[in-house]
């Protein structure tokens, strides 16, 4: 198996006035290609911080992060932007989509930044919309879609250009259980079909039940890391 993500002795310390807050302490984590990993834990446990660091959205105080063989912690801003553009897909909790763009345009915007041709973008976005079950809704704007449909568009956008890693931060937090179940199933199916690695942060037991591997965090430390199913 190929290692997609590797964190070694990762620490993140925030300074709040004169107090040091240890958001992450000595995190060691390896994620293999095609894995579906769930980072769980209560609020403030550090799961979102860890996710942000893997995605190059935040920088560690010390330690090493590798994504697809590249040292994320040593990259500058533009290198990080390149990495996120080409290798990482993101799904956030809510308000993920650009409100003035249609579902199809939201999916195509990242591909456009990557320099894909209009025809290729159109072809791929229509195909992925069909895969996520939104065929016929491609010209709707986010405000015309339900929360579940919006998250499906976000997943489609995250995986459309086959990144090696998709990071999802509480993707089901604003969904009812039926929509959450559908979304998780979709993510797992997409992961398997496209050989994409998913790392999902959550405190939703439903999400945890779908994960192939569960990593539990508490007070910035990994307290459990085991395979499921």
């Amino acid at each position: 198996m190929t290692t997609v993500v590797s964190c070694k002795q990762l620490n993140k310390i925030y300074q709040q006035g004169s107090i040091e807050v240890h958001a992450l302490t000595d995190i060691n984590l390896t994620v293999e290609a095609g894995d579906f990993v769930c980072l769980s834990g209560p609020s403030g446990s550090g799961k979102s911080t860890l996710l942000n660091m893997i995605g190059g959205l935040d920088s560690p105080s010390s330690g090493e992060i590798m994504v697809d063989g590249q040292r994320v912690d040593q990259m500058n801003k533009s290198e990080l932007a390149e990495l996120r553009l080409h290798k990482i897909g993101f799904v956030f909790q809510a308000y993920n989509l650009i409100p003035v763009l249609t579902a199809r345009e939201n999916i195509e915007m990242v591909m456009q930044m990557q320099g894909d041709s209009k025809q290729y973008r159109h072809q791929l976005s229509m195909a992925i919309l069909k895969e996520v079950g939104l065929e016929g809704l491609e010209n709707r704007r986010p405000s015309e879609l339900s929360g579940g449909q919006q998250q499906r568009v976000a997943v489609a956008r995250a995986i459309v250009d086959k990144p090696c890693l998709v990071l999802a931060d509480e993707p089901t937090a604003n969904l009812d259980s039926a929509n959450a179940e559908n979304l998780l199933q979709l993510m797992r199916d997409m992961g398997e079909e496209h050989q994409t690695t998913f790392i999902v942060s959550t405190h939703d037991p439903l999400v945890m039940s779908h994960a192939r591997r569960l990593v539990k965090l508490h007070d910035g430390k990994i307290i459990e890391n085991h395979e499921q199913h």
């Binding site: 942000n52 995605g55 959205l57 935040d58 801003k77 533009s78 932007a81 390149e82 996120r84 553009l85 080409h86 993101f90 956030f92 308000y95 993920n96 650009i98 409100p99 003035v100 763009l101 345009e105 195509e108 915007m109 990242v110 456009q112 930044m113 990557q114 209009k118 956008r157």
Partner: protein, 409 residues
């Protein structure tokens, strides 16, 4: 990049009311600037036209050095022949020869120093408005008549009227005494205090006789109603006198630098007002752009997370500014141009202007100037400063961190 323009276009319509109000502010400012600058330049055209038409002409052919040191001996021989040649070769009738001299003129009661000018009455009416503003008596009858016309103020000061005689005493071209007793046949009121107080005109032949000028004169005055053709005409006349290297063609602004300086001063002070107007417009736009960027901070955070760079997002904001400003400026410029065109056709007049204009034989209406300068300068400056203003909110994006931005409420 088409996608970015599309995104920019949709972004500016997120808040349609705000966008429309901002566009209206820009369009109103642009229209006002186009109209004001057009009117201002139109007024300058009128001022130049009046200055040129009143007496000095658009050009004068003189001996080199005469304008700076007006000595009677610095004269042009065969001036009437030269004037005729220029009329024939240029096809313009509005070309007249003049000779100038200084003399003391005396009535029964008083003596004044004055500028005595010998003119060709037949052609003078084409180059100057003076023949048309005779208030008492008549203008000079022929080239050979022994008579003169005198300004209204000078006549009043000397207490003379048409039919009276004045004694003229000056210095001839050859150093002899130039003296004569000449009847006054007319009194003019040009509206120019300077001319009305000191200028006396007589037929050129009489002047040449009294001042021992032989066939000499000092200036060939050339008038053309279209000041905009100044540079082409200047080249034409320069070419026509190229065989006489001691002659120069002076344009109106060299002859009357005061008028040009006054226009430049007024133009500068006008710009103070325009700068205030542009500043008000630019600050209102800056506010719109700033609001639009601040309310999208979270969205920009997501875009950064997806791989957009701050430069990409900054460029998007600049594209929005470009679209919004361009539409508003095009609309404003067309409105301003439309208003200018209306007044260009029908003219703009103020109360009392008719009467004054008729009195001084001048046009009674101001017509805004329609030219690339009058149409493009104002909107161009708004465009430039608006884009500069948009740089500020765009530059704030450079400092955005994705996580902080996404947590922005």
């Amino acid at each position: 990049m088409a996608g970015n323009w599309l995104l920019a276009w949709r972004n500016i319509w997120r808040q349609p009311r705000r966008t429309v109000l901002t566009m209206l502010a820009i369009a109103f400012g642009a229209a006002l600037l186009v109209f004001s600058i057009g009117l201002q330049l139109g007024q300058y055209d009128l001022m130049i036209q009046n200055a040129v038409r009143l007496y000095q002409g658009l050009f004068q052919v003189q001996q080199q050095g005469y304008h700076d040191d007006a000595k009677i001996r610095t004269s042009i021989p065969g001036i009437e022949l030269l004037a005729r040649k220029l009329r024939q070769q240029s096809g313009l009738d509005s070309i007249a020869a003049r000779a100038n001299g200084f003399a003391l003129i005396s009535s029964a009661k008083r003596t004044y120093g004055s500028l005595v000018v010998g003119v060709q009455p037949e052609y003078e009416k084409y180059v100057s408005t003076l023949p048309g503003v005779i208030k008492q008596g008549r203008y000079l009858s022929s080239d050979n008549a022994h008579e003169l016309v005198i300004g209204e103020s000078l006549a009043r000061n000397m207490k003379i009227k048409p039919g009276d005689e004045i004694t003229l005493m000056g210095s001839g071209r050859d150093g002899s005494i130039a003296a004569s007793i000449i009847p006054v046949v007319g009194i003019y009121a040009s509206g120019s205090r300077e001319l009305d107080r000191q200028l006396v005109q007589m037929p050129l032949a009489a002047f040449q006789d009294i001042f021992s000028m032989q066939d000499h004169g000092h200036a060939i005055v050339i008038y053309h109603e279209d000041v905009k053709q100044q540079s082409q005409l200047h080249a034409v006349f320069k070419d026509l006198i190229a065989d006489q290297q001691q002659l120069v063609v002076l344009s109106w602004d060299e002859i009357q630098p005061g008028v040009k300086q006054m226009i430049e001063l007024d133009y500068s002070s006008g710009w103070l007002m325009y700068i205030v107007l542009v500043a008000v417009i630019v600050f209102s736009i800056l506010n719109t752009f700033l609001m639009s960027v601040l309310e999208r901070t979270r969205e920009f955070g997501i875009m950064l997370a997806l791989g957009y760079t701050p430069y990409n997002i900054g460029r998007l904001v600049m594209q929005e500014a470009f679209i919004l400003t361009s539409i508003a400026l095009i609309a404003g410029t067309l409105i301003g141009l439309g208003v200018n065109y209306y007044f260009y056709i029908y003219g703009l007049t103020f109360s009392g202007m008719d009467e004054i204009a008729r009195m001084y034989n001048m046009p009674a209406v101001i017509r805004p100037q329609i030219s690339p300068d009058s149409v493009l300068i104002g909107p161009g400056i708004i465009f430039l400063f608006t884009l500069l203003a948009a740089l500020y909110p765009a530059s704030r994006i450079r400092k955005l961190e994705p996580v902080e931005a996404m947590n922005h409420i």
